[in-house]
């Protein structure tokens, strides 16, 4: 037998069966391979091994001649990094892999820029985009050309640590970061206050009243007190600058660090020699103010991150739990997080499987595109495993949960949430690119002004150069867009609008045509009883009760509408026996010993005889259901789809904004036209196939329209991806949500109007921010170069300009 067999037996207790590393004591990770439990060292290995076994590749363990892949000998990697290489969470479809990583040590927009820049230099990285507000890095790479561990290693070299997203670690990291920043702020503040005390006599004293030895004493004391601020509080800037220099880029920390170091070094020299200017007060104040504005920014970021966090816990939505299975019983909707091993859940077509499990009843096609990138649905039947996150594409199945939702490989919606905001709209990219040029230009400019003043008036060269370095604020430029977008995204999330792609706010603001789907979008997609008419002498409440009793066992939309109507009107509860369903016709059964039929006219005529006593022809779009007994017509129920409550207000809002409204529906033409008239929609097309909807949208686009599409349902997926910006109803199918740019989580159509309002306000704030940042720099830098600003005034200006940008963005959150 090959080596694998030997490994199966002995060392399983001490070393990980998958990678061979030591299993920590008390580990509970294990995988059943060939009928035996094998211990694993970590959830990563467990997931990999489980995936291997699940794929029917358990032979791998029998045939392998060594433990699973480790880093090669020449470039030893921290073992934990190497583990991620095989992590199935990151195995994308095709050649490209995709991952969301949590990055530790993000300080401000400068870091984002640095990280993206560094990673894009690596061969094989397709895209890297960092979200400042959530500290997450969305990464795509060619798995043949680069390993994830190499990417993580590169990040580590420039001073950042990245992990696959882990909620516990994230919370811990946030706590640690805010504690550190708080301490640095405190130290800087304390030394700033004290240094100012020592400087005050020098500023206030008239010439000649302060003797040289006293001045010397004060200066040495200031020097001592500035040390903690430089050594401890200024760390973020010095480290950031160092990291960006090592990565051979010019980060935004570079001028800041240069300013601090130059001012401090100049002051030390002056103190030592006992003559010349000292800037200890400016240095400490600059550090304090800069830290304060970062503290503000971090608080804002953290708020945005908590909203996403909350959402994540709520997102794997819910599952329909059949608690009594295999006995028949009502399904109960429970939060997916509460599912435990062994629960049986019902997965309807279009729904996402809430947790990993095994099919126990039914046969269906499942769409794994979200998990694997494989687009063709795969047929699964009884006994097959299904991963959480797969989308049920054809028929209802019952699934026995194998792992609780918290442990499941992936939930599709979670991924959506993580992708939210991880890429940048064009306007933010522009700001980032210009910020890098800005830094380079600034350094040259500072050098030039130093040279000019050296030649002109050597004594002023240092203060001017320091002022130029300190006064400029590339951060304001770089923060302008992300801070506004983070605040807007966060606010919309609070209103139930999950923005998945970055361009949404920008494009929605520009949209000229808003296209709506009808069923499930403008309407609730559920039938409701509009009228219940009784014939001749029948008792209304009794008829409703009988109808409800007959329909009780059926899952048909009409049956649910009648049951809801009965509950609403408080009709007495009755029980039916001997129920028989005639497909496409209706039901028959006995209530209280009398036979009844419910269904369409011809079905009921079979028992009631002759023709139904028509009251009037039913309106277009209304369905009618008759109830009858032996020789007698009893009642007629008129049902129709209900328009969402906030549909009218939403449409009115868009109309008032001068947007063109279009209604596209697969429903009957007359029904669609009637609704368009009712809702004052200018253009409506009924009877559209998905392909026709797509053509219509593309035709609009070819005439220069910017189309926003609102829809639900599997059949809308294509048109949702074709539209410039798209919204999917949260109650719709997961497939539609994946194709959409935005998910309306609470299923309120009015949320789109909220999104549109927020979009236009966000664009306004971004423009204000950029204008402010540009204007500030244009005014402040030349002023500093002319020697009109001294270093401490520059420090205030720089910190204030960052704060203005962040505070302006935070306005979006309120109201």
């Amino acid at each position: 037998m090959p080596d694998g067999a030997a490994m199966t037996a002995a060392p399983a207790l001490q070393s990980c069966f998958h990678c061979g590393q030591d299993v920590p004591p008390g580990s509970r990770w294990s995988v059943a391979i060939d009928g035996a439990q094998h211990a694993m060292c970590c959830p990563g290995c467990e997931a990999v091994a489980k995936a291997i076994v699940d794929l029917g590749q358990a032979d791998y363990y029998r045939n392998r001649s060594a433990y699973a892949a480790r880093a090669d000998a020449e470039a030893p990697l921290p073992s934990q990094l190497a583990l991620y290489n095989d992590d199935p969470r990151f195995a994308g479809g095709g050649e490209e892999s995709e991952a969301i990583l949590l990055v530790e040590g993000i300080r401000c927009a400068a870091c984002v820029w640095l990280i993206e820049r560094r990673l894009m230099q690596l061969d094989g990285v397709v895209s890297a985009s960092m979200n400042v507000s959530t500290e997450r890095l969305a990464l795509r790479w060619h798995k043949d050309r680069i390993q994830l561990s190499a990417i993580l290693q590169a990040l580590r070299q420039i001073g950042y640590t990245a992990f696959p997203y882990d909620a516990v670690r994230h919370t811990e990291q946030l706590r640690k970061a805010s504690r550190t920043l708080g301490r640095q702020l405190f130290v800087a503040g304390l030394s700033m206050m004290q240094v100012m005390m020592y400087v005050a006599p020098e500023y206030l004293a008239e010439d000649g009243t302060l003797d040289a030895s006293m001045t010397g004493l004060m200066r040495w004391a200031s020097l001592l007190l500035t040390l903690p601020a430089i050594v401890y509080s200024a760390q973020p800037f010095l480290r950031g600058a160092w990291a960006s220099l090592r990565a051979r880029t010019l980060g935004m920390d570079v001028p800041v660090a240069l300013g601090i170091v130059a001012a401090f070094a100049g002051s030390i020299a002056a103190t030592w020699r006992g003559r010349g200017e000292v800037y200890f007060d400016s240095v400490t104040m600059f550090i304090f103010l800069l830290l304060a504005s970062r503290y503000l920014e971090m608080a804002a970021r953290r708020k945005a991150a908590t909203a996403l966090e909350r959402l994540q816990h709520a997102l794997p939505a819910s599952a329909t739990l059949l608690s009594a299975w295999p006995a028949p019983g009502e399904g109960r909707v429970v939060p997916a997080a509460s599912l435990a091993r062994g629960d049986v859940i019902m997965v309807k077509p279009g729904e996402t499987v809430a947790a990993d499990g095994v099919i126990v009843e039914g046969r269906t096609a499942l769409d794994f595109s979200l998990l694997t990138g494989e687009s063709a649905p795969q047929t699964k039947s009884c006994g097959d495993e299904v991963p959480g996150g797969a989308v049920n594409a054809s028929a209802m199945v019952l699934v026995r949960v194998e792992r609780s939702a918290a442990e499941s490989t992936l939930s599709g919606l979670l991924k959506l949430a993580e992708r939210a905001g991880s890429a940048k709209p064009a306007i933010a990219q522009w700001a980032d690119r210009s910020a890098s040029w800005f830094v380079a230009g600034l350094l040259l400019f500072a050098l030039a002004s130093f040279g000019f003043w050296w030649w002109q008036d050597a004594a002023r060269a240092w203060p001017v150069a320091i002022a130029v370095l300190v006064v400029s604020c590339p951060c304001a430029l770089s923060l302008a867009t992300p801070s506004a977008l983070a605040a807007a995204t966060d606010r919309l999330l609070g209103k139930g609008v999950l923005i998945v792609r970055p361009h949404v706010l920008e494009t929605l603001h520009r949209a000229t045509h808003i296209v709506f789907d009808k069923t499930g979008t403008l309407t609730t997609g559920q039938l409701a009883v509009q009228r219940a008419d009784t014939f001749s002498a029948a008792d209304g409440a009794q008829c409703v009760a009988i109808a409800a009793a007959l329909e009780a066992g059926s899952a048909h939309p009409i049956a649910r509408a009648i049951a809801a109507h009965a509950a609403q009107t408080g009709a007495p509860r009755l029980a039916a026996t001997g129920l028989r369903e005639v497909p496409g016709q209706g039901l028959e059964g006995q209530v209280g010993g009398t036979a009844y039929r419910i269904g369409n006219a011809s079905h009921v005529a079979g028992i009631a005889g002759c023709l139904p006593p028509w009251r009037s022809a039913p309106d277009a779009g209304m369905s009618t259901v008759f109830l009858g007994m032996q020789g007698k017509w009893l009642a007629c129920f008129t049902l129709s789809d209900t328009i969402r409550e906030d549909a009218r207000a939403t449409l009115d809002y868009f109309a008032s904004q001068g947007k063109h409204l279009v209604l596209l529906s697969g429903d009957r033409e007359e029904l669609v036209q009637r609704m368009a008239r009712e809702l004052k929609i200018e253009r409506a097309e009924g009877g559209c196939l998905p392909s026709e909807k797509l053509e219509l949208v593309q035709e609009l686009q070819s005439r220069g329209a910017v189309v926003a599409m609102v829809g639900d349902g599997i059949n809308d997926a294509a048109v949702l991806s074709a539209a410039d910006v798209s919204f999917a109803m949260g109650s719709g199918s997961a497939l539609a949500q994946v194709s959409a740019d935005t998910v309306l989580l609470n299923g309120r159509i009015g949320a789109i109007a909220d999104a549109a309002r927020t979009a236009s306000r966000t664009m306004r704030v971004i423009r204000q921010n950029l204008a402010w940042a540009v204007a500030y720099n244009i005014v402040a830098i030349p002023a500093a170069a002319c020697g009109w600003l001294n270093p401490w005034l520059s420090g205030i200006g720089m910190a204030a300009s960052s704060a203005v940008v962040v505070l302006n963005a935070l306005r979006l959150r309120g109201k």
């Binding site: 504690r179 708080g182 405190f186 130290v187 304390l190 030394s191 004290q194 004391a221």
Partner: protein, 51 residues
């Protein structure tokens, strides 16, 4: 004025002392929750105040 030669170094020491105290307090988690303890004082039920 000679007193300053004593007082200035003393004030420097005082600041370093304050920093040391602050770090100790921060290490024991006193600044982790700045809202909760203030509310807990107001709770009538002393038992729930322990956690």
């Amino acid at each position: 004025m000679e007193a300053l030669y004593l007082l200035v170094p003393l004030s420097v020491l005082l600041v370093f002392g304050a920093i040391w105290l602050f770090f100790n307090a921060s290490d024991t988690g006193q600044f982790d929750d700045l809202v909760g303890p203030a509310l807990r004082v107001l709770q009538d039920d002393d038992r729930s105040g322990e956690f």
